[in-house]
């Protein structure tokens, strides 16, 4: 009878212990991509978001006005005229008033600033918020959920009790408390997202982790001596990425909404900076007499939301093709 020696359990050769990701995932992701691209809604979403990102990046740079610049001229007798509350116009040379030769695609606001520039500047803020939401979801939410699900037992229990408590305080209350002692601005918006956004994601990540940690390949990897964190982030995470991305796509709109809401009630962005929410708020104050002021920010917000939601839906369907096959 052969008695196993210690040497038998050593690796024969030094080799990368990672699963062969290329082979394992290519087919899957290719399928996902095909499904996704076949979905007209999803593609529309991608196009919408890309257009908005494009304008947000370049429109304020190219524009001849600064977003906080009050456009004014002083006439010969020294009286100052401000281009305030002008409707959308394209510059034409011959006309009666001072600003006829200027182009204001979305008009100007009641401070005399170009709304075209301000709208895209505002869209920038919304997009920044979107990326912060992605980061928070990916880093905080995912790790929290995976760790909780993977270790189980006491750790899971403690982490879940914490979530239960944190999740039972409505977002509004948390924001209110923050708003009392934090300085207004994008920092407050990000802080409130930090405190509330990741909870949904961590639940999804935990559920995925509970499902995946019983799989054979995890067991195999553990027997081969992989550490806990290696298993969590190298073995489980890549396989749970589908539902996680879907969740991210849906939490972006929530984050953008939160910012718009906070700015609308006046604890968000600080003037003269602007965000979609603060522009909507400014437009709302003049909605019946200067309706063109509220239309651009609302449209951009709605299209951005639509885009991200369509992408999210597209991902979900592409990642769960069983629905497709019915």
């Amino acid at each position: 009878m052969y008695t196993p020696q210690k040497d038998d359990f050593n690796f024969i050769a030094e080799r990368n212990l990672d699963v062969d990701e290329n082979f394992a995932s290519q087919g899957y992701w290719k399928g996902v991509a095909v499904h996704f691209l076949r979905n007209k809604f999803a593609v529309t979403g991608v196009i919408l978001v890309s257009i908005i990102i494009f304008f947000a990046l370049f429109a304020p740079v190219v524009s001849s006005y600064n977003y906080d610049e009050i456009v004014s001229v002083t006439n010969s007798s020294g009286k100052e005229f401000i281009a305030k509350s002008l409707g959308p116009q394209i510059g034409a040379s011959e006309s009666q008033d001072f600003f006829a030769d200027r182009t204001f695609l979305f008009g100007t606001d009641d401070m005399g600033r170009d709304l075209w520039t301000r709208t895209w500047q505002g869209a920038r803020v919304s997009l920044i918020i979107a990326f912060v939401a992605i980061l928070i979801d990916m880093i905080v939410g995912t790790s929290y959920g995976l760790i909780s699900g993977y270790f189980g037992g006491l750790v899971d229990n403690a982490l879940q009790r914490f979530i239960e408590i944190a999740g039972s305080i409505p977002t509004l209350v948390i924001i209110s408390i923050l708003a009392i002692f934090m300085e207004k601005g994008i920092g407050l918006v990000i802080a409130s997202l930090l405190l509330t956004e990741w909870i949904g994601m961590s639940k999804i990540a935990r559920a995925e982790c509970l499902k995946l940690k019983e799989r054979e390949y995890v067991l195999a990897s553990r027997t081969l001596g992989a550490g806990n964190f290696h298993i969590i982030f190298k073995q489980i995470l890549p396989n749970a990425i589908g539902p996680i991305i879907t969740q991210v796509m849906f939490s972006i709109p929530v984050a953008i909404f939160t910012e718009a809401f906070l700015s609308f009630v006046g604890v968000g962005i600080v003037l003269p900076q602007c965000s979609i929410g603060s522009l909507i708020e400014a437009g709302f104050n003049n909605i019946t007499i200067l309706p063109y002021q509220i239309l651009p920010p609302i449209s951009v917000l709605a299209l951005l939301m639509l885009g991200f939601n369509l992408i999210g839906d597209g991902f979900r369907e592409a990642l769960a093709p069983k629905l497709e096959d019915m």
Binding site: I82, S85, D110, M111, G112, K184, P272, N285, N286, I289
Partner: protein, 550 residues
């Protein structure tokens, strides 16, 4: 499962319809008036805002009231006598009744005044030695026995007030809500802190009584008080207030007839002025609110120590284009102001001329003159040895116009004064106030409401011991003048006091302690079928006793 769900649905439906069943829409026309902010409190010892004052004024009559022209005329007091030394007022009350049928007695006044001092609310200061000078008021506010307050009721219909010093405007002060009576017997039946929180816990002796109200109500209903002493003169059967915070909503609700009286802001005023039909209903008048920039001179203030330099302050004050501010951003008829006392406020009792009639009198230190401002700035730069000044401007983020003003200020100051940078810091009112009172700011946009019709309501702000909004500025000459004018040697000599107040104002503006910006205005749309609403710039803004709806 389905059963539970159906059951829940039925319960919910019952709940919703059951509560909505009380449809008693009277259908007939009712005067509906806009309030731009919530009523804070109906307790005269605690209210602080114009909305509360207005509703209290509808429901309770004080000793005196202001007539349409702002003169003090008798209300609950039929007449009063003044002692030789001007320090004792004896009011003779008429036969007035509370809404529950009780007589309004002098004891109700004694009770209310003592209670106000004892409660030490925000407005209790008005009883004290800077304003009304009621004997011992300051001591009682600080916790002394309330019975030592200088008020007494020799009989049910005689109310006597003793003062520490003669106060020329005392009768008109009596129209201010802090001096209103409270029915002691009724008050005694209420549980603690519940006075004035519902129609049941509030008793009126004035033209109207509450019929629907809760604290913070968006809609307040008033009905005529049949027990009012002058009830025959009151034409309205009742009216309602609606709290509307957006000026655009206000305009729309006026256009579609929901509200009869609304206040509107800048853009809406401009819109109405262009509309021939609507503009007939527009009424614009100065409100007596002074907007000014306060400079924090505390040398310890970490990056505004520079503001202790008078040239920097003068530079800022002279770099502001107040006319542009008013015409382009406030736009409601407000007037650019170059004095520390607002325009069309505090008329001289003898000449009738307003205190701040001459806006040019301090033109050498406060004006819009960019080159002069830059000279001041250069001087400041060399004195301080600094080229860059970064200043935080704090303001309370209520209302659309405030945010526009500060943005315009930032733009003007930064373009007219090279090297000056302004950071805007909006905050809720409470936080703003705590920063202002704890000297934690560089520049602050302040709006101050006059409490009584005398320049002193503004000038006492800047004394060393003055109000909590401290610029950290102290000037012995200034303090001396103010003290002489309130309780000192000049209190009895009207003309000398008036002149001395100009001297005080000059000291203030020469040192650029503040930069006055503008006197705010109210723009009000009134339906053509509404007549007889009286508007005041002090105390109670609007009075409906004589209003009629056709």
């Amino acid at each position: 499962m389905k059963k539970i769900f159906t059951l829940l649905m039925i319960c919910a439906l019952l709940l919703v319809t059951g509560c909505g069943g009380d449809d008693n829409s009277s259908g007939d026309k009712k005067l509906s008036v806009m309030l731009s902010s919530n009523v804070v409190s109906l307790d005269t010892a605690q209210c602080t805002d114009s909305a509360s004052f207005e509703v209290i004024g509808d429901c309770i009559d004080g000793l005196m009231q202001l007539d349409a022209d702002g003169r003090a005329v008798p209300a609950i007091a039929e007449s009063f006598d003044l002692s030789e030394d001007g320090k004792t007022y004896t009011f003779h009350l008429r036969d007035a009744k509370w809404a529950n049928g009780d007589d309004v007695t002098a004891d109700d006044f004694v009770f209310a005044w003592r209670r106000h001092c004892q409660k030490a609310g925000e407005y209790s200061y008005i009883m004290g030695n800077t304003v009304a000078c009621v004997k011992n008021a300051d001591a009682v506010i600080k916790g002394a026995d309330p019975t030592t307050l200088g008020v007494s009721a020799p009989d049910a219909k005689t109310f006597v007030v003793e003062l520490d010093a003669p106060v020329s405007f005392f009768p008109s002060l009596m129209a201010f809500p802090t001096f209103y009576p409270i029915n002691e017997k009724f008050y005694g039946t209420l549980s603690e802190n519940s006075y004035g929180t519902s129609p049941e816990t509030f008793l009126s002796n004035g033209a109207f009584a509450l019929s629907s109200y809760i604290p913070g109500a968006a809609n307040i209903q008033l009905k005529k008080n049949d027990n009012y002493w002058n009830a025959t003169k009151v034409a309205l059967d009742g009216f309602q207030y609606q709290v509307v915070s957006s000026s655009d909503n206000a305009l729309t609700s006026f256009k579609n007839g929901t509200l009869n009286v609304v206040g509107i802001g800048g853009n809406q005023v401009e819109h109405v002025q262009k509309d021939a039909e609507l503009s007939k209903n527009l009424k614009t008048f100065l409100s007596g609110y002074l907007y000014y920039l306060s400079f924090n001179q505390d040398p310890k203030n970490h990056h505004a120590g520079a503001l202790a330099n008078v040239n920097l302050r003068l530079a800022i004050s002279n770099a502001i284009d107040r006319e542009s501010l008013v015409n382009n951003y406030v736009m409601n008829g407000a007037k650019a102001t170059y004095t520390a006392v607002p325009i069309e406020f505090a008329p001289n009792a003898k000449t009738g001329k307003f205190f701040a009639e001459d806006q040019k009198q301090f033109a050498d230190v406060i004006n819009f003159d960019v080159s002069k401002a830059q000279e001041f700035l250069t001087a400041a730069k060399s004195e301080l040895g600094k080229d860059e000044f970064e200043l935080n401007l704090i303001f309370s983020n209520e209302g659309d116009s405030t945010s526009k003003i500060v943005q315009a200020l930032k733009s003007q100051l930064e373009s007219n004064l090279p090297g000056v940078k302004i950071n805007l810091q909006p905050m809720p009112k409470a936080e703003y106030l705590s920063n202002v009172t704890s000297n934690n700011y560089d520049l602050a946009l302040v709006d101050w409401t006059p409490d009584y019709n005398d320049p002193m309501t503004f000038l006492t702000l800047w004394t060393t011991s003055g109000c909590e909004i401290a610029e950290h500025w102290s000037n012995a000459d200034y303090d001396k003048i103010i003290e002489d004018c309130t309780t000192g040697s000049l209190a009895e000599d009207y003309d000398a006091r008036w002149e001395a107040l100009y001297d005080a104002e000059k000291i203030l503006l020469d040192n650029a302690v503040i930069a006055p910006l503008y006197t705010d205005a109210n723009s009000v749309l009134i339906s053509p079928n509404v007549k007889g609403i009286e508007f005041h710039s002090v105390g109670i803004d609007r009075v409906y006793k004589n209003a009629k709806l056709k």
